[in-house]
Structure formats: C-alpha cells, structure tokens
C-alpha cells in the first residue's frame, strides 16, 4: 500500500540510511520532506523488485530474505507503511471462514507476537482476545461453524453466553445478544510498526529499501519480466512483485502487457475518541458486532470503532489522478448508521469526546478473497494485494506463501482460492469492479450462508439459450462470469425473497431440485453446461499427442473417438486440473475442463507446451454450447433426432462422435454426463444451439423431458462419489489419494509430470484418503445442513475436513465428501492411511458444533442405483466437475 499522505496518528517515522535503520520521532516533519536527499542510488540490477512498502511488500521481503533470497530491492513511492497500512485498525483476528485465510491469520498472529523480540522494533503487540457478537440465532450458527474450524486447528476459542460477554467487557449492552464467540489469542498491533519491523529484519538480511521511488512501469520481454522503470531510473530484474495495494490495478495496467489485478478501493471510516474517564484496560477484548456492522477496539484508553456500511463509497475508479482532487475527508453523515450502532452497543459512550473520524481507503476484490500469485500472462510477475480490509491479519501468512511460491514454485498450502489465476480479463472492467466492490464491502458483515450468489456484475457471459431458459423459470448463479442455472422454478410456484432465503437449514428449493433429480433418474433432463472451458490442441505431426502424454497422467494414445478422463498433474502428483479429453483425430484433441480453469489451465499448458509453430492450442470455449442429456431416456431422444442408433452396442460409454441432431450437423456427441447417470453431452456450435435445444425439447416431450440445473447435477454426482476440481481436488491431492489410480497409466511407455511422486505413493501408501460419508442421525428438516469445511472425527479424534456435501434424494440422506488423515495419537505425526483405517472407525461430522454420526465409504453404493451400463465402473468412480 502506498500513497496516502495524511498524517494523523502519532506514530514514529523511519527512513532508510544504508541497511541500518535510524529511528526518528517526529510528527511535524512531513512539510520538510522535500529537503531530504536520496542517500543511496538505485542498483542497476536485482533478482527481485518489490513495489510497495506496506505490510504486504515488507512481509514478502521479510520472508524471501529469510528463505535465502538476498538480492531484493523494495521500492516505496512515499514512506514505508504510509498507505492503508498506516491507517488500518490493527486488529489481528483469526475468525475467518475460509480455511486458508484462517491459517494465514494464525501464522501472522504468531509471527507478530515474536517480532519485537526478533527485530527490537516495538510492534505494539497486545494479546487482547476478540469477542464476536451474535444478535441472531443464524449469526450464532455462523460463529459456531468458525469455532469448529478454529478448535480443530488448535486455536483456543469458545462460544459464550451474553452474560459472559458482559464479564469480558464492562461497557457492552447485552440485551439484544443471543451469544458470542470468544477467541482469547487474537491481538492488536500497530500495523505501521509491524511493517517497519518486517522491513528492519529484511534490511538486516540484505534487502535494499528505497522510499520516495515510484515504479512507472514494468518491462516485459517474451512474456517475462525483465526490469522496472522508476522515476529514479531503471532496475533490471527477474522477478517483480506488485504489492501496491489499491494502486495494484493501475500498476498492473501500466506495462506493455497488462496484468489484470481486479481490485477496487472503497473509503473506510473509523472513529477515534479521547480516553474514557476511567481509561479502558489495554488488554480489553476487541468487540466485533457483525449484525451492527461494527468493530470496537481499545485505543489509548479511548476507543477506535469502524465498520462496513451498507452503502460504501468506492473511489479512484478513474485512477489515481483523483488523489489530488479528492481530499479524503471525514464524512460524518455517511458514518451516522455506524455511530448509531456503536452507541446502541455501548450506550455509556455518549459522553465520550470525539478525537477524529479517520478516512482510510481499503481495497476490495470481486469475491472477497485476496489476490496472490503469478500472472498468467507474464512470467516472473507476482502479485499480493486486495486484502478486503484484513491486511494486517493476513500480512504475515500471505507474505510467507508468496515467498514460498517464488522460491519453491508453489506455496506450502493450497491457495487456489486466492490465486490471481482464478480471475480472467473479464473481471478487469472498471465498471464491473466498481459495482462489485459496492456489493462486497457490505458483505464483510453479512451472514455467510451456503450457496451465496453475487448480485452485481452479472449476465456477462451467457449461453445463447439464456433467454429461453430464463423464461422457463431458471434461477441463476455465476461462475467465472458465466451464468449457470441452479434450478427451474415451476410455473405458479414462488420462492422466498433473496434475503429471506438465506438459511443454514433446509432450503426452499429442496423439492424443486428433488423433482429434477427424479426426472434425471427416471426419464431425461437437459442441463445447459456451456460454461466449461474447452480447448482444442492439434498439430501437423505427433507433437500434440507426445506433449499431452507428457502433461497428462492417463494414456491419451487411444483410438480416435474415445474420451479419456485424466488429471493434469504437477511434479508432486497433485491435480492442477481435472479434465476429459476426446481424441478427435490422430492429431487433434478436444479438452474439457472446469469453468474456472480457463486462465489457469491455459497458462499452465502455454508454459509447458513446446514452442513449436506446428503445434496449436485454441480456446474454443465460446464456440460451443454444451447440453447435458441425463437420464435413461436420453438415448431414445437422441436416436430419434439423429436417425442413428445410440444404444451401447453402437455408441459405447466414453465415446465421442460428430453427428447431426435435427437439421444441425457437426454436433460433438459424447457418451458422458459427469454424473454417473446414463446420457450424453452435446457440444453444439453456437449458431445451432437454439435449434438443437428446441428439437431436443420437442422430441423429448413424449419421454418426459424437462430442464434441470446444477443443483440437481451436484446431488447426483455427490451421491455417486464424484470428486470435483476446485472443491474436492486441488494441487495437493493426487489421484492415488482419491481412488483414481485407474486414471493414471504409470506404465504408458513414456514419462509424464508427477509420475515419480505417484510411483512413490503407490509403493508407500497415501497420507490422506478421499472418503464418502453418509450422515446417519441427521434430520434433513430439522438439523443444520452440512456445507463444506466441516471437521470429521474418527473415534472422537479429528482426522480431516469435508470438501463438499449434498442431499442424496436416492439415499434420502446427506452425503459429505472429504479427506481422512491419520495422525499419530501421541506425536501428531501424519501416518499412512490404509483401507482398514478408514473402514474400522466410528465417524462423526461436526456441523456448527453439533456432531452427527456418519458411515464412511470408499466406494459408491452401486447396488442401490438402477441398472448400470457397461464400462460404467470407469465413469463411476470417475470424475466430475462443476
């Protein structure tokens, strides 16, 4: 973060003089700054240039230098820790919904705690604990879910009563509370000083820090970073790290090759007061009142209180030149709802005297999660920004992961949910960002319920059938900008309003999805699945086959017309992508991947395919509309429309053929459904989409055809134990760990990425195992529904977490999928997970603190389902994506 020159808090100021740091206290010197000379000239060359001297930049520098990289230059356009970092509220809170965020916050807390000792810089670290209040039962459920996660991670945490809240904090009005969550190890810091401490340590390790140096653009050659241009000259470098906070978007767009970093700033206000008559104790817990949209912490005996209003004020949409015009001022009228909320929570503060209303812009991202990782288009260009106002909580952990990523090629945790590559250029529109962050910022305090969909920035990518489906009652969700149907509301039936439909219990669409599932089982359904990422890879000779054989674990040298499910693995054998590949001809392949793989998979393949003009890869996602015909009667519909026999004898499973459907020719028909049910996927050139859809619906009428959505698909695939990438599978999961050894051809006659790791696992066994759980004593109508991330207990001991779940209308039970690990009872060491270990345990799933008995299974219930088609075993234990 960089750029805000308001000097409001009386902190110390620092400046670089050689690698040594000199401390100077001053609060009036800001005016005399022009007189300062730049003591050290910029180096001509460095391995790494980091732009941004806020908490992110200094944390990256700190961790890189700790990991042994020394040739690092950190550039800051103003002063170190002078931007958002300086003004942020300094609350280190581990109460996070997403597990990787929780881990980052936990690491940060531990890092900051010992930082003063390590560096000698006073970080203002005080362990105060935090209390998150619940005004409603739903909020309490949400807090209980977090508490479950914290507990299994070994972070102390308890759910407490309103009376206990009153004992922890004397000023709180508890009359409207139903409970709270107490996290005793949460802390307060001076964020600027933490940043300076990190800089000090980095500097001691050899990192060069230059203030008052701004990066004008990043030089790129042949898709690689080669250097940076600054207002004080050039630096050649191999790596560039964009930690420019709210300016990261603009900096990303300043180069010849734009790097899209989708974030947008919003004004953020908090209040500072004079001390109370009886000053608050320095270790008084920080209060978070999400229903009141505010947080309240101790500040020099008075309070610091801010929040996330419903009507945020986005700024800098047109770029930073507004900075001069836009004097960020206090806006009391805007703060009024938060002030009311504060006085409702702590009525005794009425007489407290105001010191200041601070306006501190924060940057927000389109999905409320931070942005880290390497650019998909420019190698060596790394990013760490967009902290959604939790920069100080994530700073330590995020810096560590990014440093690991740069040094080792990948961080030590699965960070896909934070990876820059989850976004594409479609999130780069300023209008989109402005609208989306206005929705995201209030969401910081809103209840996080399952299956939440963003309301802004919608209807960007749509199937040609969008209007048709919408008119038939489709309800939509969005993935990677693409609108996808959740389910169809039958005519005459109304669902609840958006706000009222938020629930942790049985949702209002339960019966609707149930009837869609039933139709998939008994007749035939159509699901528009056009959002899938589709690539075509072809070559003049055998290059395509050879390259793909090396990059994918399954054997792709199959007869033309066959479809292969395969992982795209990394060196450790983990899934970078999970896809199906159809061999269209000897020399061309059609590859189908999950929707959000469009950027990641492209970058991965681009970087690894040989630079050969005779080998081409094309993204044809937009060229095809995909219809999934699921159900036993799909075969009848399709054979009537094509006058071709579609029975298994003529069209076996995992088969692909171009054929005509209705009047339209050249439809790629594949005998897969991604659910384990019989049926076909139709890949239709978009101009034929409406025709084929109409034909299918007309013809299907006599077979009872109906539209269905992704929720039905989800229920079907989970009850069949299909894992999907991005939720169940990630870069840290190998095929061996999820029962997909059959999709790996270790002896296909040539080497492939990840082979060694898989061979080793085959010999030595796996340390986690993908398992299916059927909830036994769970009442679908009365009990909380599982979602994902619920802790799994085996014989009373924590063994892992769920990754996805759904209600199975066939089993009439909830099914959770998740990974089971085996920790040594004494040492906690990870042990090999055997089939016996899985089968010989009593399992429970913890949903918001309540444990439900579960039956573990390593294979799906094939016997329970209707007649199977041959060769199904493959598809069955196979694969799925959403």
């Amino acid at each position: 973060a960089a750029g805000m020159f308001l000097r409001l808090l009386s902190d110390v100021r620092w400046r670089a003089a050689n690698p040594k740091w000199r401390k100077m206290t001053c609060s009036q010197r800001s005016t005399s700054s022009t007189a300062e000379p730049h003591p050290v000239s910029l180096p001509a060359q460095a391995q790494v240039v980091i732009c941004g001297g806020g908490i992110m930049g200094t944390s990256v520098a700190y961790h890189l230098s700790k990991m042994g990289w020394k040739d690092i230059v950190l550039l800051e356009q103003g002063r170190l820790a002078a931007g958002t970092t300086r003004f942020c509220a300094g609350i280190v809170s581990t109460a996070r919904h997403v597990s990787v965020e929780l881990k980052m916050a936990d690491y940060s807390n531990k890092l900051y705690q010992q930082l003063e000792q390590e560096t000698g810089v006073n970080t203002g670290y005080v362990r105060t604990g935090s209390v998150s209040l619940a005004q409603t039962q739903d909020r309490l459920i949400s807090l209980k879910r977090i508490a479950s996660s914290l507990n299994v991670m070994g972070i102390p945490c308890e759910i407490i009563t309103p009376k206990q809240v009153a004992q922890l904090h004397p000023l709180i009005n508890i009359h409207d509370l139903v409970g709270a969550m107490y996290v005793p190890e949460d802390a307060l810091v001076s964020s600027a000083n933490v940043s300076l401490a990190l800089a000090t340590a980095a500097s001691r390790n050899g990192v060069q820090i230059h203030e008052r140096t701004s990066v004008s653009h990043v030089s790129i050659q042949k898709g690689r970073v080669t250097g940076v241009e600054t207002d004080r000259g050039q630096i050649r470098c191999q790596y560039f790290v964009n930690c420019a906070g709210q300016w990261a978007y603009e900096l990303g767009h300043s180069g010849e090759e734009p790097v899209n970093i989708p974030l947008h700033a919003c004004e953020h206000f908090y209040l500072l007061t004079h001390p109370l008559k009886e000053p608050l104790a320095s270790n008084i817990p920080t209060i978070v009142d999400p229903d009141g949209r505010i947080y309240i912490r101790n500040w020099q005996g008075g309070i610091l209180s801010g929040g996330f209003e419903k009507n945020p004020k986005p700024l800098f949409t047109e770029g930073r030149n507004q900075l001069e015009i836009h004097n960020l001022q206090e806006d009391w009228d805007h703060f009024e709802p938060l002030l009311s909320s504060l006085l409702r929570r702590m009525p005794d503060l009425e007489a407290l005297q105001i010191m200041q209303l601070v306006n501190c812009p924060e940057s927000f991202t389109p999905d409320m999660r931070c942005i880290m990782g390497e650019s998909p288009t420019v190698r060596g260009y790394f990013v760490l920004a967009g902290m959604n106002s939790a920069g100080i909580s994530y700073g330590g952990g995020a810096g560590k992961y990014l440093a690991e990523w740069m040094v080792n090629g990948y961080p030590s945790e699965n960070v896909w949910s934070l990876d820059l590559k989850r976004f594409g250029t479609l999130q780069s529109s300023r209008t989109f960002l402005r609208h989306r962050v206005m929705e995201v910022m209030p969401l910081m305090c809103d209840l996080k319920v399952p299956r939440w969909d963003f309301q802004t920035g919608r209807q960007l990518r749509t199937s040609p059938l969008y209007d048709r489906l919408d008119a038939q009652g489709a309800r939509w969700m969005e993935k990677h900008g693409f609108e996808r149907v959740k389910y169809f509301v039958p005519p005459g039936k109304d669902l609840l309003d958006l706000d009222q439909s938020k629930t942790f219990y049985k949702p209002d669409w339960f019966d609707i999805v149930g009837s869609e599932v039933k139709c998939c089982k008994e007749a035939v359904c159509v699901i528009d699945m056009s959002s899938f990422t589709k690539f075509e890879i072809s070559s003049t000779g055998d290059q395509a086959l050879e390259s793909l054989q090396y990059l994918f674990s399954n054997d792709l040298d199959v007869p033309v017309g066959h479809v292969v499910h395969t992982g795209m693995l990394n060196e450790k054998g983990g899934y970078e992508n999970d896809c199906s590949i159809a061999r269209l001809s000897k020399r061309s392949f059609f590859m189908i991947s999950p929707t959000d793989q469009q950027v990641h998979c492209w970058a991965w393949l681009k970087n690894r395919l040989p630079d050969d003009s005779n080998l081409t890869m094309e993204d044809v996602t937009w060229k095809y509309t995909a219809l999934n015909l699921i159900g036993p009667r799909a075969v009848d519909v399709l054979s009537e429309l094509s006058y071709a026999p579609m029975t298994p004898e003529h069209f076996p499973s995992l088969f692909c053929k171009e054929m005509s459907v209705g009047y339209a020719n050249g439809i790629r028909v594949m005998s897969i459904t991604h659910t384990g049910e019989p049926g076909f996927m139709l890949y239709i050139p978009i101009e034929y989409a409406l025709h084929v859809y109409n034909e299918v619906m007309n013809m299907g009428q006599k077979y009872g055809i109906r539209n269905a959505g992704y929720y039905a698909l989800r229920s079907l695939r989970i009850e069949k134990f299909f894992a999907f990438w991005g939720q169940d599978l990630d870069a840290f999961t190998t095929p061996m760990e999820c029962g997909r050894e059959f999709q790996v051809k270790l002896e296909k006659g040539m080497q492939f990425v990840g082979q060694e790791a898989l061979l080793e696992q085959k010999q030595n066994g796996v340390y986690k195992r993908f398992t299916m759980f059927i909830l036994e004593d769970h009442d679908t109508d009365m009990d909380l529904w599982p979602w994902w991330g619920e802790p799994i207990f085996r014989n009373g001991r924590y063994v892992g977490k769920t990754t996805s779940s759904a209600y199975s209308y066939t089993l009439e039970r909830h099914v959770c999928l998740g990974f089971v690990q085996h920790f040594d009872e004494k040492t906690g060491e990870e042990l090999v997970v055997t089939t016996d270990f899985i089968n010989q345990g009593e399992y429970e799933i913890d949903i918001a603190g309540q444990r439900f008995q579960a039956k573990a299974k390593l294979y799906p219930f094939s016997s329970l389902f209707a007649q199977r088609r041959r060769k199904d075993e493959e598809e069955l234990s196979g694969y799925q994506r959403e």
């Binding site: 206090e330 009391w332 009228d333 002030l339 504060l342 006085l343 007489a351 105001i354 209303l357």
Partner: protein, 458 residues
C-alpha cells in the same frame, strides 16, 4: 387520525407519472430528457387536468396544465383537444392536405400526437366524433387560407387557443341531437378552465398562458445555486397590465364594476379562460341556450345566474400570452403548475427544491469536528436530525411528487414535517378545499448537453 409514512406515500404517488425521452443513436436527440408529473386533488372530483404529448408530424413536445372551475368539464375538454389544435396549427400545408385526403378517402390517418398519459388521464369516447369534426373544419379552413408562409409558433399557439375556445362556444350554441352530448357541450361551455402550455423544440421554448397557472424556469447559477425565472404572467387582479387591459376593453362607465374584490365582475379569479360563456355571450344568447337546453341545465342556479353589471360582453378571452425563450445550458428544468402550488410555495423555493432533487445535491455543509469538543452523543443527535432532513428526497422517484410533498409538509424550517403532511392529506373531503387547492405539476428536465451543442451550432 394519523397516516403512516407508507400511507402518505401511497396518497402522494397515486397520480404520479414519469416519461423519459428515449435515447436514440446520437441522432434526433431531444433537448428534453423527460418529465415528471403529478396531481393532488382537493376538490372531489379533481378539477385540474394535465396533458403531455410529442408532435409526430413536426418536431417538439407539448406539455400543459389546466385548472378547471365550476366543474371539470371544460378543463377535461381542453386537455383532450388543445394539443390537436396546436399541432394542426403548426403543420405545413402539404401535411394538412395529406391528412385531409386521407380522411376523404377513408385511409389511415397520419398520427399527429403521441400522448404520454397516466392511466387516470382519460379521453371521453362519446365526444370524439364531435371533436374530430370541429378539428377537421379547422384544418380545412387552414388549407383554404394557405398563406404559403412557414408557421410561426407564437402565432400558431394563439390561433389554436382562440379557435378551440370558439369551437367550444359554437358547439354549445348549435347543440347536438344526442342528449348526452348536448348536455356535455353545454357543461364544457358553462364551466371554465385556464391553460398553461409549453412547446419545446430544440432550444426554442414557447409558453402560452391563459389564466393564473404558471410556468417557471429553474436556472442553475455558476456557483451551483438555483434561481427561478418566470415564463408566464398571471392573468388575475394582481397583474396591473391585465387589469389595465380589461378596463381598456370596456367603457369607462364600467370601470368600477369590472374588478371587485380582486375578481372579474366580482366573480371570477382568472382574467382569461376557456369556456365560461357566462362572461362571453350576450345575455340574450345565454337565456336562449339555457331555456332550450336540457332540464339539468335549466335547473342549475349557477348557469341561470347572470353576472351583475353585465353590459358589454365579452368580458373574458381565451387568447394566451406567449413568451418565447431560447434555452441555455444553465436552464435545467421547467415547472408548469396550477395555482394550487404557487399559493403554498414561493417560486424561489420551488427552484431550489426541484434543482437539488434533480441533481441529487443537498446543500448541507459537511460536518467537521475540527478543534471543537464534541461528544459521541451530541454528534449522534446532530446526524440523526440531518438524516431526517434529507431522507424525504430519497422517498420520491418523481420530482413533481417531491414538490407536492414539500408543498404540503414544509414546516417553518423548510423541511418536510411528517405530522403536518399527514394532517394535510387526511383532511376530510369537505374540509380539504378550505386548506388547499387542487395541485397539478409537470417538471420538464432539459438536456444541457444537447442545448449546449445546439447553441454552438447556431
């Protein structure tokens, strides 16, 4: 008796109407962005009428408010008919010929006006044939008179007003074999209506006014503040020129009886109006028509009553005063409203309230704590009060509704007081007219960019 805020809103919004001029591909862009209109009745039924239409055979948009008295028949008729008379007056000779030929040969007629109507704004089906025939006679005369000159808007407006009033008078004298229609034309003629009509075409704004409704231009000054410019003169006793005019038109002997208690002949508030044949026809004509008319008319004391000192009719005219104004970029909006509004609000306040509403800027200085000692409680009180002040703005999606809310609810501080608003709106029918008049408002918003561009072209 107390109305909740939603009840108040449903009363205020019952008659609101908004029209946005569709945006085309950069061509044919209009200087009008759109308009908001609304009515609040005090009489039951309301005697005000409003009209808005786009001229299809010529360029321009017509908007008007009509304040009826002695019933609503005349205002209704004028609101239906006047714009056709104006549109026809503006048509070039060839178009008139084309229309006449179409009628003659039974072909489909070129549409002349596109109306922008609230569902409550009705047209009387029964009289449409009669009205059409009168209109046709008018354009046939225009065809015969073909002067060859291009039509001057001012002249067209004056001709249309006078012609329509004349037709109203004639129709009543001739009568109609259909007894319902016969009674209707008589009611139209014996009741009265004022009219304030705007014609906007590019930067040319013409206001034709007859009576005491008013047109006011909202101008944004360079410093952002709002000022009001009158684009019409009230035709009533407060207007010296008008009193002068009336006195000029009648012998000196009547000077004292002409204007009494600020009323024409001591009876009528507006000094110009449509209809009101009691102030236009000779006593003989009035008696003949009333006696031969239907019983309902004969039994009506009002129609039979001859104004005192009635010596040299006509005392009343429908001829409008026309003001032409060249629109400038700083001219942001036009308010047309019946006297019900202007009785309760000063035009300067109207300009400010509408201006701030349309721009979304509320001239409230931001609060800064500075060096003062302020407690959280004090600040909270201050902020709550400020919020109440501006919240009324966000309740309205219609500038005219917003204006009515202020007209009815303003307290001494110029802010809407809900209690007062609730009282004004919950008055029983028989009391309502004592505290307020019918209010009809049209707020036309101009497109400054288009106006600026037109100016530069000229």
């Amino acid at each position: 008796f107390y109305l909740t805020p939603p009840q108040v809103n449903s009363i205020l919004k019952a008659n609101e109407y908004s029209f946005k001029v569709p945006e085309f591909d950069g061509k044919n862009v209009s200087s009008v962005l759109g308009f908001d209109s609304n009515q609040l009745p005090a009489n039951a039924p309301i005697e005000d009428r409003r009209s808005a239409a786009t001229c299809l055979q010529t360029r321009g948009m017509l908007l008007g408010v009509f304040d009826g008295h002695a019933g609503c028949a005349c205002a209704q008729a004028v609101s239906e008919r006047l714009f056709y008379y104006i549109a026809v007056s503006l048509l070039p000779h060839e178009t008139l010929l084309e229309i006449e030929n179409a009628v003659e040969s039974g072909r489909a007629l070129l549409p002349i006006l596109q109306w922008h109507k609230h569902p409550n704004d009705y047209f009387s089906k029964e009289a449409s044939k009669l009205y059409f025939n009168s209109l046709r006679t008018y354009w046939q005369e225009l065809i015969d008179l073909n002067s060859g000159e291009t039509t001057d808007v001012k002249e067209a407006l004056i001709n249309a007003f006078k012609r329509l009033d004349n037709d109203i008078s004639l129709e009543a004298q001739v009568g109609d074999p259909n007894s319902f229609l016969n009674y209707l034309v008589l009611r139209v003629a014996f009741s009265g209506a004022t009219a304030c009509v705007a014609h906007v075409d590019g930067v040319d704004l013409h206001i034709a006014n007859t009576g005491d409704s008013r047109a006011m231009l909202g101008v944004q000054e360079e410093d952002g503040s709002w000022s009001a410019v009158n684009l019409s003169y009230d035709h009533n006793a407060q207007n010296e020129h008008e009193v002068e005019r009336v006195k000029m038109e009648h012998p000196k002997s009547e000077e004292k009886s002409l204007v009494k208690q600020d009323r024409l002949l001591g009876l009528l508030m507006p000094f110009r109006a449509f209809g009101d044949v009691k102030f236009k026809w000779s006593i003989e004509l009035q008696k003949r028509v009333v006696e031969s008319g239907p019983d309902q008319l004969n039994d009506n004391e009002y129609t039979k009553f001859i104004p005192p000192n009635y010596h040299t009719p006509p005392y009343l005219t429908a001829e409008p005063e026309v003001i032409h104004h060249k629109l400038r970029p700083q001219d942001k909006f036009l308010v047309l409203a019946t006297d019900g509004l202007w009785e309760t609000m000063h035009r300067q306040d109207v300009a400010r309230i509408v201006g701030e509403y349309l721009t979304g800027v509320h001239h409230q200085q931001p609060i800064a704590v500075g060096g003062y000692k302020v407690t959280l409680g004090q600040m909270h009180g201050l902020l709550t009060e400020r919020r109440a002040r501006i919240s009324s703005v966000f309740e309205d999606q219609n500038a005219a509704t917003h204006l009515i809310r202020h007209a009815m609810g303003n307290n001494e501080f110029g802010t809407v007081d809900h209690e007062r608003l609730s009282k004004m709106l919950s008055l029983p029918e028989e009391l309502a007219r004592m505290y307020r008049d019918d209010i009809t408002i049209i707020v036309v918003q101009f497109n400054s960019h288009v106006i600026g561009a037109c100016q530069n072209e000229e």
